[in-house]
Amino acid sequence: MSGGRYSALALLRGALGGQQHWGRAWRSPEPAPSYDVVIIGGGGHGLATAYYLAKVHGIRRVAVVERSWIGGGNTGRNTTIVRSNYRQPQLQRMLDHSLKLWESLSDELNYNVMFSPRGALFLGHSDADMTRLAERGDALVAQGIDAELMDRAAVAKLIPLLDMSPDVHWPVQGGLMQWRGGTARHDAVAWGFARAADRLGVDIIENCEVTGYVRDGERVTGVTTTRGTIAASKVAICVAGNSGHVAGLAGLRLPIESHTLQAYVTEAVKPMIDTVIMSQSLHCYISQSDKGGIVAGGDPDFFPSYAQRGQPLRLEDAIAQALALVPALSRLRMVRCWAGVTDMSFDGSPIIGDTPMDGLYLNGGWCYGGFKATPGSGWLYAHHLATGKPHDLAAPFDLARFAEGRTIDEAGVGPMPQHR
């Protein structure tokens, strides 16, 4: 097991002791021959699932097997936005459950994930936008979720660098604010869950790629990996971005296509944007990291790819939109851009639960909204794995909904990979 508790006192001890007392945040064990649950994928969702299996359900013979290094997929490649202000009630409830977990996550994990409820604001650019935002806000309040409709003046005061001129292409008419939304430190989420799960006995096995499944008849009873065969009572896929590939190893085909989504960060500057800015009409989202870089993103690339490499023109569009909203960004410089591979599901909503194969479970299809769901997704998936039944909040997100017509189509544009 790994070192002691983190605290200011521990830092003081480190200062006096030349930082020698810190132990490993998580072990690096060899895979055991068998586990109760093998979770494929050491991203935030997989690690959270392992943690809640151990913590809430007392299931500690759990392995998280990760092809590469933990947190290296979409957990480490997103724009760190956390919010629950969706329109469809199933998504609202599921994501607000997650948001509530975020609110106590640092203490829960004894790892500061820097959850910063600085507010997540959707801007409206026309009366029609404002009506749509009000509708969304009304639906949220009806679910007991916070939403505040802000007028132009309030928005201008909150974000002084917004272009408030009335005669621009996308004039700002107001916005819908979720004050409980904000950002978190993405890497810390993976590391914090890993450290906390490790302390409960979960084996986190990096550099271990799943190459296939062990089957007993129609039942999946384990995985074959680059580090040997591991038996498991339950095998849980949790590899959003690569669900198609990993489910494909079992012969499953999903209502998912993998597409790349880009984001970028600028050089660090002193504080200039204090909240998360999004837009009802534009495909851009902007926030400033604690280090000072402006983190922003835009549209996916509109075609399937596993490349973790984006297309430059999408980046241009995303930046043009960000500059339209905050013209003072023009002279900032991009220091890095990157792309994640997202599981684009065919209704824009995630898939959590059973697969047609016994012993094999799926958590994926998060499109480009998975980071915010990290703790909640883990909680719900752990519940399903532990009890064999979906949690009430996860029940609508089953795989069977596509064949049965119960799709949860936030954007109303299905049945294709959803680009909003």
Binding site: L11, A134, E267, A268, P327, A328, M334, V335
Partner: protein, 961 residues
């Protein structure tokens, strides 16, 4: 060769005026003026100076420019002086010399790498408070607050060969390629051609290096090649697309008249030749960040290229021959060279021999600590084979080996191979059509580089005669990893203040993957992207792992190679032109009538025509009542319109539309809708048979592109056998809907013929223009859509408007149109047709062809679509009090679970009151129920009664003839 005889240029740094000379970088000019302290570091606020002479500079970040041209975090080494340049130091308070933030240096034991993950617990609100101060302390320069006054441009370019880097290798390759008749483009990030030749005292084929460079450039241009200066290849993308950012104005400078500040080039190249050079590595020792500690090649560059002395008394600490060149260059420039410290035990060669004759050369000598004197280095303590010695010096020139610039090669997907001799990654196999030459490929002998580069350009083999007074140097070598670290901070990543101790700590805590190391310590994540730091960190990591560096792994090289101004990416897509605006053919007419414009996608459409003193809502209600009582004109030109012709036209339409088309008689039309493949309603419109084998299909404005794609897909992919033509006429036609009890009279007068009957079509002429008239009613009144070619619609509008005015009518806008259609219960795409509605949900099930055979029929059979119970269904809403909040939730009481929502709300037109449309669970069977239309975000609520969805002339008597 570079005496300081250029024209003087005045500039300011931290409020003080200085004079540099043309051609200087800001860094060179500061050095020339004796300024050593230039910046404060990110975390510990350590005093920092100038370390490098190029884009790799990690320390000397300043803010350049004023007002809207302010550019924080500009490397002093990457801005060339211009008259009036204003620069300021950053991240210090109250001043650069006295910075209170330096207290962080004293606190540093408390704030090692990743300390923030281990403290600041408690509720999120508490973290918000901590974060407030952390954010203020973090960041580097202050952000600009004013709008950017400058323009940026984009430019596509195509070439056979793109050469990146105009040093000796790039020039040789580019000349060779141009002479071979290839379309050549050469880009150079510097403002001068020559690369390494600018700092070396060499001749090629008997011509001094800088002259040789100039001649090469002239030759390339003469052969039709394109050379971009101050142009950095920042990204290497798929299929040999390279993005290049060309500066036409230095940071903070005013661009030339009518010129953009920067141009973003998108270069598609047949082949890319990467001559991107190599970057020198610093050495790890305590205090290795002090002002006056400088990369050896940079010191040489300042002495040779700029003619400035980077110090008075220098110590050179090197791991290989190249450092000796700096000793000669500095000595030639009049700098006292106190010692050359070579970490090798027994270096050989002509260069070393020559140095031994001139300088105090110590071998097996390793620097331990740089001591300060005031703001800059005052002495270097070194280990000379077990014996420590202190060398007084105000300049410590260091060379820990070189790192080839493989960024673009790696961005292009290429492999890297480890060169154990150089201890460096070199470009391996390429995945795209690119190759690396020169120092970027690990080359070090100029003659060999030139010959190889020439061959790479495609020319016949040839040799170059290189004259170098110091002779050829041996291959570069890397410094051995430091043994025991001296007390004090040995920086690895200067900009993010990451030390060797931080790397060790990350290892100890299990952040052992190189990516974890990077993210935990923030190593290599600063604006220099680790150009000078990555190899040192890898070396330390490999040392801890007990493996060779290649086994330790390598982080990804991501674009851009150097930080790139966001404005350049946006190009001309700013302000009014951030996206296209589509203008109506009748724009001028609407504008003259005082239209209030409404964005509908890229279109701008008239929302209403308020009279002076009239609110928009009042105007819209007036306009709607005008339609009910007289006649109104509304511009419907944006509707999607398609001509479908040929023997199989009806067949194609029946594949796309869920309603019957085949039985439509000539001259007749009908309402139709289309489904997505999953069975939900996609769009709606009308279809008209205008000739025996010709149909006109209209559908919604917003769905126009989607419908065009659908028609083409069905026709070309599903049914290539059909004998049919589909022409998109959205732009060809302009259309004016004429509605109201006097509409028929108006049309009859203008066309001289009785207008077509309801749901019939005809052709005619108005105002001398041939028109097609479709008799369809959206408003509930007798109505016609008049179609004419957009370039001839003006007279048609004029005639109609004059006729309408004479009948107490006029123009109406979208809001009036909406109020009219709500009263009639017509659904609209985007409100009731929200992508989640079935035909049955919208009370349209009766029109669906029972036999199927159209797109989406299979989706409709899915249980959740086929079973109406529990589905949201279209209802009308009658207000029992005031206006209904559009978008509001329909609840039994505030706070209860919504049973539906208000999709559209409008004032009644035909009488007083308010109505709306809604989608309500099981709504079709709930007419008469009362609910609350509740909008907590707007603090509005109105009691409503559910009803059938039409409120006006349910029998349709008014629009029949």
């Amino acid at each position: 060769m570079n005496a300081r005889d250029g024209s003087p240029v005045r500039f300011r740094f931290d409020g003080r005026e200085y004079t540099g000379q043309a051609g200087d970088t800001l860094a060179a000019a500061l050095i020339a003026n004796g300024v050593a302290l230039v910046a404060r570091s990110f975390k510990y606020h350590r005093p920092r100076g100038i370390m490098a002479a190029g884009v790799e500079e990690p320390s000397a970040l300043v803010t350049v420019g004023e007002g809207g041209r302010r550019e924080p975090n500009t490397r002093a080494t990457d801005v060339f002086l211009y008259e009036g340049l204003v620069a300021e130091s950053q991240n210090r308070w109250p001043s650069l010399a006295f910075d209170l933030g330096a207290i962080n240096g004293l606190l540093s034991p408390l704030i090692p790498a990743g300390f923030y993950y281990k403290t600041f617990f408690g509720p999120p609100k508490r973290w918000l408070r901590y974060e407030h101060f952390i954010r203020k302390a973090a960041g580097m320069g202050a952000p600009p607050t004013a709008a950017d006054p400058d323009a940026y441009a984009h430019r596509a370019a195509f070439c056979d060969v793109l050469v990146v880097g105009a040093g000796p290798a790039g020039l040789a390759a580019a000349v060779s390629a141009a002479e071979a008749g290839r379309r050549v483009m050469l880009v150079e990030q510097d403002c001068r051609i020559g690369g390494a030749l600018l700092r070396e005292d060499v001749a090629i084929d008997g011509i001094a290096g800088h002259d040789w460079s100039a001649r090469a450039a002239a030759r390339i241009r003469a052969l039709g090649g394109r050379i971009l200066m101050r142009a950095t290849a920042t990204g290497y993308w798929d299929h040999n697309l390279v993005t290049v950012i060309e500066r036409r104005a230095e940071p903070g400078a005013v661009p030339p008249v009518d010129q953009p500040a920067q141009v973003l080039w998108k270069v598609r190249a047949g082949e890319v030749i990467l001559a991107t050079g190599a970057i020198e590595r610093p050495l790890a020792f305590s205090g290795n960040d002090r002002p006056g500690v400088m990369l050896a090649q940079a010191a040489r560059t300042y002495a040779r290229r700029y003619g400035v002395k980077p110090g008075r008394r220098a110590v050179i600490a090197t791991a290989h021959d190249d450092g000796y060149r700096t000793a000669f260059a500095l000595a030639d420039a009049g700098v006292e060279v106190a010692a050359v410290l070579d970490s090798r035990d027994n270096p050989q060669g002509t260069l070393v021999a020559a140095a031994r004759g001139r300088f105090a050369v110590h071998t097996g000598a390793v620097p331990l600590a740089a001591k300060r004197s005031g703001d800059r280095v005052g002495a270097l303590v070194a280990d000379l084979g077990g014996r420590q010695q202190t060398f007084a010096a105000d300049l410590v020139a260091v060379s820990g080996g070189v790192t080839p610039v493989v960024h673009l090669h790696k961005q292009a997907g290429g492999e890297l191979v480890w060169d154990a001799g150089m201890e460096a990654f070199l470009p391996g196999a390429s995945r795209q059509a690119n190759r690396s030459i020169g120092a970027a490929a690990g080359g070090h002998s100029l003659a060999a580089i030139l010959a190889e580069s020439w061959a790479a350009g495609g020319g016949p083999a040839r040799n170059f005669a290189v004259t170098d007074p110091l002779g050829d140097a041996a291959a570069p070598q890397a410094a051995p990893p430091p043994g025991a670290v001296a007390p004090g901070k040995s920086f690895v990543d200067f900009q993010n203040d990451v030390t060797l101790a931080d790397v060790d700590l990350a290892w100890r805590e299990g952040y052992r993957s190189v990516e974890h190391l990077k993210r935990y310590t923030t190593l290599g994540m600063a604006t220099d992207q680790g150009k000078t730091s990555n190899m040192a960190a890898l070396s330390r990591l490999a040392q801890a792992q007990g493996v060779e560096i290649p086994a330790a792994g390598l982080t990804t090289f991501r674009p851009p190679y150097t930080p790139a101004t966001l404005g350049a990416f946006a190009g001309g897509a700013v302000g009014d032109h951030a996206a296209p605006i589509r203008r109506l053919p009748l724009y001028d007419k609407h504008e003259a009538l005082g239209a209030v414009w409404q964005p509908v996608g890229y279109w701008r459409r008239p929302r209403g025509y308020p009279r002076p003193g009239e609110a928009l809502g009042e105007a819209s209600l007036r306009e709607a009542r005008m339609v009910r009582s007289a006649v109104g004109l509304v511009d419907v030109s944006t509707l999607a319109t398609f001509a479908v012709s040929g023997p199989d036209a009806a067949l194609l339409l029946e594949l796309v539309c869920a309603t019957g088309v085949a039985k439509l008689a000539e001259g007749r039309g009908r309402y139709t809708f289309m489904l997505r493949e999953d069975g939900f309603v996609m769009d709606d419109g009308t279809v008209w048979r205008t000739a025996p084998a010709r149909y006109l299909l209209t559908s919604s404005t917003g769905g126009s592109d989607r419908m065009a794609q659908r028609l083409s897909y069905v026709r070309n992919v599903l049914r290539p056998d059909l004998r049919v033509s589909v022409a998109n006429l959205q732009e060809h036609f302009a259309a004016i809907a004429v509605a109201g009890p006097r509409a028929a009279d108006l049309l009859a007068e203008l066309t001289g013929a009785p207008p077509p009957r309801h749901m019939s079509c005809d052709s005619g002429a108005i105002g001398g223009t041939a028109v097609t008239i479709l008799a369809a009613s959206y408003s509930g009144e007798r109505a016609f859509e008049v179609y004419a070619p957009a370039d001839a619609i003006g007279p048609v509008w004029d005639a109609l408007f004059a006729g309408a005015s004479a009948r107490d009518g006029g123009a109406y806008g979208l809001d009036a149109m909406d109020a009219l259609r709500v009263e009639k219960g017509h659904v609209v795409v985007g409100a009731e047709v929200d992508g989640r509605s079935t035909p049955a949900d919208l009370a349209l099930a009766g029109m669906v062809r029972k036999a199927g055979g159209f797109t989406g029929w299979q989706g409709l059979t899915r249980p959740a679509l086929a079973d109406p119970s529990g589905r949201r269904q279209l209802v009308g809403l009658e207000s029992l009090d005031g206006p209904i909040p559009e978008g509001g939730m329909l609840v039994p009481a505030p706070g209860q679970e919504p049973q539906g929502h208000v999709t559209t709300a409008a004032p009644r037109v035909a009488q007083a009151g308010w109505i709306g449309l809604a989608l309500v669970v099981d709504g079709a069977s709930r007419h008469g129920d009362e609910l609350l239309a509740w909008s907590p975000t707007r603090r509005q609520q109105t009691r409503v009664r559910l009803s059938a969805s039409h409120f006006y002339d349910a029998e349709g008597a008014r629009y029949r003839d």
